[in-house]
């Protein structure tokens, strides 16, 4: 397994270089270093001299990807792309365009993101699987039918609507929880109730239907018939046998997102005022802070690759037939 993991990590390097290159190209198609300087320095009294100084200070005075004034390797190494990219591979993200340490910011913002994303993930998984198994248990009854109708209805509503409706009902009309905000210590709980409920409910339709489909497929298999034939009660059949055998597709969807939980949610964090990484990314895009955008895209790619590796590894725990070589 170790060989497999090492090989996957090595495969990741060219992928990360590619992601970095694409991010770089896309960003600089829209923004030039001069634009970035103007964005940081303001628009009123900025002189060309100030712009030039800013670029030199931040290392944006070099060519983007090819330095024709240099020879040999320096053609590639003395460029903005190389100088801004290479340090990231040792997770040194450097400073944002407004001069702050990006690594420090990321570390301090991961926890608020996780405070929302982890409960939504765990609670969501439990709720979706329970609902899906219940619908399977009561298949062809009114519960299954109306459950499906409800799922389709939930899928049809925009995520933004859940947020606005949730804030309106629970925060504004019924005064049960704060409309938005964040706190420290135990105080944080009151701010998590609403976004967690909304996070779970907004994804309930699609996920419950997906798990229901998986479980229904399993229900038709012979081992289920055998379990029933030996006299097991239906809930034991479902929760002990069907659930266990359906874990591979569940893990495929679930484990891969575990590392990404650190990155938070752009919209939820923005609407609920959560000081996490999602809102950090939004701020960086709005202020054209390439250093932060690049760091967040890179981090997202790394975490996604880690998620895929973890998914593969998790298969070996739930299915003894799988061997990673």
């Amino acid at each position: 397994m170790l060989t497999y993991i090492v090989r996957r990590i090595l495969y990741a390097i060219p992928i990360l270089i590619g992601v970095n290159l694409i991010t770089f190209m896309l960003f600089f198609v829209v923004n030039t270093p001069d634009d970035m300087a103007r964005m940081q320095l303001g628009a009123k009294y900025v002189t060309p001299e100030a712009i030039e100084n800013w670029k030199i200070e931040r290392g944006y005075d070099k060519p983007l990807v090819l330095n024709e004034n240099k020879d040999g390797w320096k053609k590639f190494t003395e460029t903005i792309f190389f100088e801004k990219s290479i340090a990231m591979f040792v997770f040194d993200f450097g400073q944002s365009d407004d001069g702050r340490d990006i690594g420090f910011e990321i570390r301090s913002r991961m926890l608020p993101s996780l405070a929302i994303a982890l409960p939504v993930f765990v609670l969501g998984l439990a709720v979706y699987i329970t609902c899906a198994l219940t619908m399977v248990f009561f298949r062809t009854t009114y519960i299954d039918f109306w459950g499906l109708v409800l799922c389709v209805a939930l899928m049809s509503i925009s995520g933004l609507f859940y947020i606005i409706a949730g804030q309106f009902l629970m925060g504004k009309l019924w005064h049960l929880v704060p409309i938005s905000g964040f706190g420290t210590g135990l105080d944080v709980i009151k701010f998590l109730v609403l976004p967690v409920i909304i996070g779970v409910v907004s994804s309930a339709g699609a996920n419950t239907r997906w798990y229901r489909t998986i479980f229904l497929e399993e229900m038709g298999k012979e081992y289920v018939r055998t379990a029933r034939a030996k006299g097991l009660s239906e809930h034991l059949v479902l929760f002990r046998h069907v659930l266990k055998n359906a874990l591979i597709p569940i893990l495929t969807g679930a484990v891969v997102v575990v590392p990404l939980l650190f990155l938070g949610s752009l919209i939820v964090e923005s609407f609920f005022g959560i000081p996490g990484l999602g809102s950090y990314t939004i701020d960086a895009i709005n202020s054209q802070d390439f250093a932060v955008v690049r760091a967040m895209v890179f981090l997202g790619s790394v975490l996604y690759i880690v998620g895929l590796i973890l998914t593969d590894v998790s298969y070996t725990f739930v299915d003894p037939r799988i061997r990673l070589r």
């Binding site: 829209v30 923004n31 030039t32 634009d35 103007r38 940081q40 320095l41 628009a43 009123k44 009294y45 900025v46 002189t47 060309p48 001299e49 100030a50 100084n53 800013w54 200070e57 407004d98 001069g99 702050r100 340490d101 910011e105 219940t134 248990f137 009561f138 009854t141 606005i164 804030q167 009902l169 504004k172 009309l173 019924w174 005064h175 049960l176 929880v177 704060p178 409309i179 938005s180 964040f182 706190g183 135990l186 105080d187 944080v188 709980i189 701010f191 109730v193 006299g231 009660s233 239906e234 809930h235 609407f271 005022g273 000081p275 996490g276 809102s279 701020d283 709005n286 202020s287 054209q288």
Partner: protein
């Protein structure tokens, strides 16, 4: 049944615990329970400030913090209008002396040509102290405690308050000089360096010297600016310093009321230059050090920023005189009392308008702006179009305060463009008539009514109300676009515009030379779908003259690029004044300030690339004059030239509307002076009472939800039990026999 009732009671008991609220009668309070009833002002900010270092911060979202912390030598009178400069930390307004080329003093009334330098001498009050800060901390032996921090010291430091010992020292003139030197620091990129380098003697050379010094390893770490001499700025004694500028620039005094000219102690600069602190984002840009009424004690710009009363601030009092009406509106109730009144100001980050608005209505924020989607809920027009709060707001005791901003939003014509700017004498005359025709046709009164909810004044020239040089009434009317009818300015009829079009060579919108309809191009920054209606409206305005308006939408960077290169034809732009002087508006159309093809290397703000020799001459004369009748006459002439040439559609001056709860006192809004929070007063007990009244939790929905769930699931549970108890194969009694 007992179990179910128990479950409901459990939910009712758990929710208040989850909400973590000290007050069981209010569950939705977003502020910590420990703050209940305290003398705290709750405000919001939408964009995180990029810079809090006064040498860099310029945006309004930054200055709302820095202006409460730092004290420049001058400030604006809080109540007087027009805006009046008064001493801040200074004893009096600066002593101004003019010098000729031989460095000999010349009289105040000397011709501008004879003035080579102007010297501003500022005396500050003794006994002003900085906020407590670790940069000032010394050991018993007199050694600096935190100027050479090692890894061990830094291991327990994550924020400024983690330093155990804080101290202060008295403000001196050296600190002001130090800050002016920082304008030229190569690492700091002050936005006004370019402008100031044109005026402050020696600043450009000083910047070059610092750039060289910075190349050394010591310079990379820290440049001690005390060791580098700047010829245009110096200390006379501990409490007096001077600034020498080139020529005569009377508007310079307004800059002395901005945070750029606040004091910075060298100790703080050295303290914050330590690498270990920079890595932890503990920098002067993040943790300001000032002498003002407030100090920043919490800086988490993604969540909240907290200003607390500076314990070392004293000796300033609420103004005792204001304008007519101020007494009646209660603005002088606190006259003569020591300020600040509020102990703590909490700025919460609110990116989205809906939560921000709802929390204001719940009493959790003390003031609010008005978004377009909540305008109808908040404001109604009565009588002669006078704005007031709706009955719903009035019931809550919310009041509306309005003020015309010293800003202008306009549509500019690029004068380098052959169609709207013209080439050759005949072409320029034709283009002028075209611009005048468009000025008449684009109905800004309608625009303000539709798109700004009436929050604006249609402009008759570039100068905003409240600024010397602005004229209201008939004297201030633009005769090219309006005519005076029944005591008010009325836009001229379309017939006038069509006649001008014909004279311009476009009868009925058809180009006489080509026979084709006239097509013009409108460059705008990429719009959201919400703004499409505005662009459609604009097309219709041009359509009145049969002009085809093509909207060219682009991102902000490309838009700016087009303007710099002079590639736009018609564009929209705006300007917010830095200081209340007509020069700060009229320079936007001063020829040498043109943006396109400007080789002077300095910043330029004349986006229309307008040039008129007579206007430029008058501008040069006007900018150095003191306000008075003669200056007003020159301004009138300049404005008339502009109206005749019409390089802009003058657009409108926006009105700021703000809503304030009944417990929020001493509010006189304006956007020129920014250090206003020291004058505000809050009745926190009233606020607490109102919050409880407005936010009692509504519990029936939880009960209903619980009962609905139980009701829906009961048949299912029943069916499940029956299923589990039933036999796999049903027995048939008859078959057994």
């Amino acid at each position: 049944m007992i179990k179910r009732i128990g479950a409901v009671l459990l939910i009712y008991a758990v929710i208040p615990i989850l909400t973590g609220c000290g007050d069981p009668t209010v569950w939705n309070n977003p502020h910590p329970a420990s703050e209940s009833g305290q003398n705290i002002l709750y405000s919001v900010f939408t964009e995180r400030p990029k810079h809090l270092d006064p040498v860099q911060s310029y945006s309004s979202n930054e200055i709302q913090f820095t202006a409460q912390i730092y004290q420049p030598p001058l400030q604006y009178h809080y109540l007087k209008r027009p805006f009046t400069l008064i001493p801040g930390t200074a004893v009096d307004l600066p002593k101004v002396t003019y010098y000729d080329l031989n460095d000999q003093p010349v009289s105040d009334g000397a011709a501008t040509d004879g003035i080579a330098y102007t010297q501003y001498e500022v005396s500050i009050k003794p006994g002003i102290f900085y906020q407590p800060h670790p940069a000032f901390a010394k050991s018993a032996q007199g050694d600096w405690l935190y100027h050479q921090l090692n890894d061990q010291d830094l291991a327990v430091v994550y924020k400024l308050s983690d330093f155990a010992i804080m101290d202060t020292r008295e403000l001196t003139a050296y600190d002001y000089v130090y800050q002016i030197k920082r304008l030229a620091h190569p690492k700091l990129h002050s936005p006004i360096y370019g402008l100031m380098a044109d005026y402050i003697v020696g600043l450009r050379d000083y910047a070059a010297e610092l750039r060289n010094a910075q190349r050394s390893p010591e310079g990379q770490a820290f440049l001690d600016l005390r060791e580098y001499f700047l010829s245009g700025v110096g200390v006379i004694d501990d409490y007096t310093y001077y600034i020498r500028i080139r020529g005569k620039y009377p508007q310079f005094i307004y800059w002395l009321a901005m945070p750029f000219f606040s004091p910075i102690p060298w100790e703080a600069d050295l303290f914050y230059s330590q690498k270990g602190l920079i890595e932890k984002n503990i920098t002067l840009d993040w943790y300001p050090v000032g002498t003002g009424p407030y100090m920043l004690t919490e800086n988490n710009p993604n969540l909240r920023m907290v200003l607390e009363r500076n314990p070392n601030f004293y000796g300033e009092f609420y103004p005792e005189e204001g304008m007519p009406g101020d007494l009646e509106s209660g603005l002088l109730n606190d006259a003569g009392k020591a300020i600040p009144f509020i102990d703590k100001i909490v700025f919460a980050r609110e990116r989205e308008g809906i939560p921000r608005w709802n929390k204001f209505l719940q009493g959790y924020y003390d003031a609010s702006g008005i978004g377009s989607d909540s305008f109808d809920q908040a404001v109604q027009l009565v009588g002669q179009g006078e704005a007031t709060v709706t009955d719903e707001m009035a019931e809550q005791g919310i009041r509306l305060e309005t003020t015309v901003a010293v800003s202008t939003f306009y549509i500019g014509f690029n004068m380098l463009d052959p169609v709207v700017g013209g080439t050759g004498e005949k072409g320029r005359e034709s283009a002028r008539k075209l611009r005048q025709a468009i000025s008449v046709a684009v109905d800004y009164e309608e625009y303000i009514s539709i798109f700004a909810n009436g929050r604006g004044l249609s402009a008759h020239g570039p100068i905003a109300p409240g600024v010397p040089g602005y004229r209201s009434g008939k004297a201030g009317m633009n005769p090219v676009v309006y005519e005076w009818v029944d005591g008010e300015a009325k836009r001229k009829s379309l017939q006038v515009a069509r006649k001008l079009m014909a004279e311009a060579g476009y009868p009925n919108g058809i180009d006489r030379k080509t026979g084709s309809p006239l097509t013009l191009y409108f460059d705008v920054v990429a719009r959201s779908t919400e703004d499409r209606s505005m662009l459609d409206w604009m097309r219709k305005q041009f359509q009145k003259l049969n002009i085809q308006l093509v909207v060219r939408s682009t991102d902000y960077n490309r838009f700016q690029d087009k303007i710099r290169k002079g590639n736009a034809q018609i564009f929209e732009w705006g300007w917010h004044a830095d200081y209340p002087d007509p020069e700060n508006f009229l320079f936007l159309l001063y020829g040498p300030q043109r943006k396109a093809n400007n080789s002077s290397g300095s910043s330029a703000n004349n986006a229309a690339n307008y040039e008129n020799a007579e206007y430029d001459r008058l501008f040069e004369q006007m900018k150095d004059m003191d306000n008075g009748i003669l200056r007003q006459q020159i301004i009138d002439r300049m404005v008339n030239i502009l109206r005749h040439d019409s390089p802009w559609l003058w657009g409108y001056h926006p009105k700021d509307y703000g809503l304030y709860h009944t417990w929020f006192n001493n509010v006189k809004p304006n956007r020129i002076s920014n250090n206003n929070m020291k004058y505000y007063r809050i009745d926190s007990l009233l606020r607490e009472q109102k919050r409880r009244e407005w936010n009692a939790p509504v519990l029936w929905p939880i009960t209903l939800l619980f009962l609905s769930l139980m009701g829906g699931l009961w048949p299912a549970v029943h069916a499940f039990r029956r299923h589990e108890k039933s036999a796999a194969i049903k027995s048939d009694a008859s078959s057994l026999i």
